[in-house]
C-alpha cells in the first residue's frame, strides 16, 4: 500500500491543476461566475460564441473540450436544464479562478452574450 495523501499533497495537486489551465479555461470559469452573478444561465453554446468572437477557437469541439476538462476537474458543474447545458462554477473552481487572478497570468475579457444580457 502506498502512503496516505496529506493535505499538503492535495494543495500541491490543486496548484498543479491550476497551473495547467489556459486562458480559455480562465474565461469560461469567469463567464460562468459572471452569469450566475447576473442571474443569467450561461451555457456551452454561449461559451462557443464568445470564444469564436474573441478568436480563441473556431470549432465547437474545442469549446466543448475546454468545458469538459473544467468539469472533469470539478471546477465547473454542467447542468442539463431545458435541453441546455448550463455552466456553474464550483467552490473549487472559484478557488482556481482566484489563484489565476492573483497570479496575474490572464486578464478578464468580456463575454458578448453576458454584456447583451446586462443591457436588457
Amino acid at each position: 500500500m502506498g502512503r496516505e495523501l496529506t493535505t499538503g499533497d492535495f494543495d500541491k495537486l490543486f496548484e498543479l491543476q491550476t497551473q495547467r489551465l489556459g486562458e480559455a479555461h480562465f474565461l469560461v470559469m469567469y463567464w460562468a461566475a459572471q452569469g450566475e452573478d447576473l442571474a443569467c444561465r450561461y451555457n456551452i453554446t454561449n461559451t462557443f460564441d464568445d470564444m469564436k468572437r474573441l478568436g480563441i477557437t473556431r470549432t465547437k469541439q474545442t469549446a466543448v473540450a475546454i468545458v469538459e476538462a473544467l468539469a472533469a476537474l470539478c471546477f465547473i458543474e454542467i447542468r442539463e436544464e431545458r435541453n441546455r447545458k448550463n455552466i456553474f462554477i464550483t467552490t473549487y473552481g472559484a478557488k482556481a479562478l482566484e489563484a489565476l487572478v492573483l497570479s496575474g497570468r490572464f486578464v478578464p475579457r468580456a463575454s458578448g452574450y453576458l454584456e447583451e444580457h446586462a443591457k436588457t
Binding site: 450566475e36 452573478d37 462554477i89 472559484a94 496575474g104
Partner: protein, 365 residues
Amino acid sequence: MTIGIGGAGSKIAAKLDNGAVLVNVSETELNKVPGGGRRILASVHAARGQFKGSRMNPEIGHDAYQSIRRELLDMARGDMVFSSTGGGTGNGITTGILNDLTKANDIATADKTSFGLILPYAKLESSEFVNNTIEFLTEPLAAAIDSGNTGNIFLFSNKKKFEEKVSEEHYNQQLVESLRMFLAIPEKNDKYRLLDGHIDHEDFALFMSKPYFNHFTYFDYDPKKPFGDQLDASSNPYLLEPEAAIEALFLLEVPKGGDPTLFYDILQYFASKDVSPIYSVVENPDRQKPLVTVSLLYSRKPAELVDDFNRISEGHAQAKVKKSLDQWVELEKMEVNLEKEARRAVKQRGEGEEVLATLRRLGKL
C-alpha cells in the same frame, strides 16, 4: 624589431625602439603611447568601435590575437616581445604567441623570440593582475619554456616602482636604459678595442636564443673586493632576483691603460659555480673605473615563481572574505505573505479585482 603588446608592453617597447610595433585592442590606448612605429589594432567584437581595453580580461586579448595571429607570429620571429602579465591585452595576446610557439617544430636559433614580461608587484597591485599572472606563469609560459622554443625571458618586476614611489614614465625610462646597457654588449665589442675574449653579434644572438630566464646587471667593478659579493649586492632592481646561474655572459670595460687581466677573478668566480661564461674585455676610454655587465641565465620553474604570487593572492582572498564578514549586517527578517502581496497587486492593477468581488458575492470564496 621590438614588439609591444598592451599598454605596459607598448610603453616600454616604444621607449626602447622608435620603430617598435605596438599592439592593442583599444584604439584609444594605442594612440596614447608616445613614440614607437607601426600600430596594430587587434580586432575584438565591438559594436561601437574599439575604444575600450580588455578590462583585465585575458580572454578578450586572446580572442583578439586570432585577428593578428599570422602577422604577429611572423614579426615576432627573432625579435623581442614586451608585455605585462597582469592586464587583459598583454596577457591574452602573449598567451596566444606562447601557445603557438609551444606547438611549433624546430625553431632556428636566429628565429627565437625573447620576451620581456612585466610582472605586477603583488603586494600593492590589484588581485586581478596577480591572478592573471599566476595563470600566465603556470600555463602558457611554463609550456613554452618546456618546449624550448622561446629565447631569453626577462622577468621585469614593478617592485622598485611601487616601493620607491617612482612615476611610471621615469620607471620605464630607467628600465629601458638598463636594458640598453645589456643589449649594447655586441656593439661595444665592435666599437672598443678588444683586450680579451670576444662577444660578437652571433655569440650574443645565440645567448639570447636560449630558453632561460635572463637576469642582467652592471656595476663598477672593484678588483679588491670579491666579485661574488659585488654581484650579489648589485642585482638589477628592475628584474626579479635570479636563481643559481646555468650559463653566463659578461663584458668587462676597463679604462684606458687599465689592467686587462681583471677578468680572471670573474672567471674564477664562475668556475666555482660550475659555469663557463662567454666574455669579452674591452678598453673604454670614457670610463674612469672598470665596469662589468653580467647576464645570468637561470631556470626557475614557473611553478616556483607562482608560489610567491599564490601567497599574495591567497592573502588578498582572505582579506576580501574578512572584509565581507566584517561588513555583514544582520537583516531584519521580513514576514512576507505571498497571497496578501498578490491580492495587493491585483488591487493595484485593477484587473481581476472585479472577478474576485463576483466570487465573493456568490459566496464561493
